[in-house]
């Protein structure tokens, strides 16, 4: 293989689309000025009343895809990434945009060390048993 072609070996059928993922974010790899890194299980809730949610003007198709996924129910960051078929890093940047525009609220997961009491764990255990 010549040196020129070396890079192309990455693009086998498993490599996915040829558009570089961060092209969708305008090259940004970190969410806006807040700089918060959303956890994979941070929950994203759509603010249906927010201006911008039903306007196409400011947002790209990927932003809209995320909004549409949130319409039915609150979604975790991981679910959004899977649902929109986008890498998590890209979804984080897009969510940062939506947060700044006030379209969504994003909850930070409660660290287990701060769980209020055993009640929740008990609830989880009972819930698992009942499945």
């Amino acid at each position: 293989m010549t040196e020129d072609l070396e890079g192309s070996q990455w693009y086998d059928s498993e490599a996915g689309p040829l558009v570089r993922p961060y092209a969708m974010t305008g090259g940004r790899t970190k969410p806006g000025p807040t700089g918060v890194r959303f956890d994979l299980i941070a929950l994203v809730t759509l603010d249906k009343g927010a201006p911008g949610v039903d306007e196409d003007s400011l947002l790209g198709p990927e932003h809209r895809a995320l909004i549409d996924l949130c319409r039915t129910e609150t979604q975790s960051v991981a679910e959004l990434a899977a649902g929109a078929d986008l890498p998590v890093g890209v979804v984080r940047v897009l969510l940062g945009d939506l947060l700044e525009l006030g379209c969504v609220t994003i909850s930070r997961p409660v660290p287990p060390a701060q769980l209020p009491d055993e009640r929740i764990l008990r609830e989880v255990i009972d819930g698992l048993r009942a499945l």
């Binding site: 996915g16 918060v36 994979l40 679910e79 997961p109 499945l131």
Partner: protein, 201 residues
């Protein structure tokens, strides 16, 4: 730093999500286990490797940036409205260890899946969670044809800390998978309580 702003808007009744990791060697049944207990079809999410290559990018320039993706399986169990359990199958390959740090952040606990025919495959995962004091259970996936060992044999072979549960399971079976998760949550609760007592006394 993480800002506290997001908390201000969140009221007490906001949805609560808990994270459980499923780790273990390649091909031990992580995806199978996640699929068996998840109420949603196992989704695969992909994470860019850009951060691992950041130091390279700084000198080489953006045009040489190599992006590849690593897949993670995950599933969800809704306990009730507003309380969900998320399961993440950790990437098996060693070169994706850096992803574990993010995954384990704030995790309730972990399941380390083991296959007694190649027990050594789960050593790295056991080490990882022990060092970070993340509660975990070892779930021995009882493959048909694999010689059956008792939970005690496995516990001794892995040199587990006292109290770390070992559960025999069938990763394909939903009830068996549920039992593994129940044991983990119970154990995580005990560890959590013990730490609270420690910090008080």
């Amino acid at each position: 730093m993480v800002s506290e702003n997001s908390d201000a808007s969140a009221d007490e009744t906001t949805a609560l999500a808990l994270k459980i990791l499923v780790a273990g060697g390649f091909g031990v049944g992580k995806t199978t286990l996640v699929g068996a207990v998840s109420e949603i079809r196992p989704l695969r999410t992909e994470e860019l490797l850009s951060e691992a290559g950041q130091s390279v990018d700084d000198t080489d320039g953006v045009d040489h940036k190599v992006t590849t993706t690593v897949a993670m399986d995950f599933g969800r169990i809704t306990i009730r409205s507003g309380l969900s359990l998320y399961l993440f199958g950790t990437p098996g390959q060693d070169r994706f260890w850096f992803l574990w740090d993010e995954l384990s952040q704030g995790a309730l606990g972990a399941v380390v899946l083991a296959d007694t025919r190649r027990l050594e495959d789960c050593f790295p995962a056991v080490d990882y969670f022990e060092h970070r004091h993340i509660p975990f259970v070892v779930a021995v996936n009882c493959f048909t044809g694999a010689r059956a060992y008792g939970a005690q044999d496995v516990s001794r072979a892995l040199d587990l800390d006292r109290g770390t549960p070992v559960v025999l399971c069938d990763a394909r079976d939903r009830d068996s998978g549920k039992e593994v998760l129940i044991r983990l949550v119970e154990y995580a609760g005990r560890v959590h309580t013990a730490r609270l007592l420690d910090s008080v006394g």
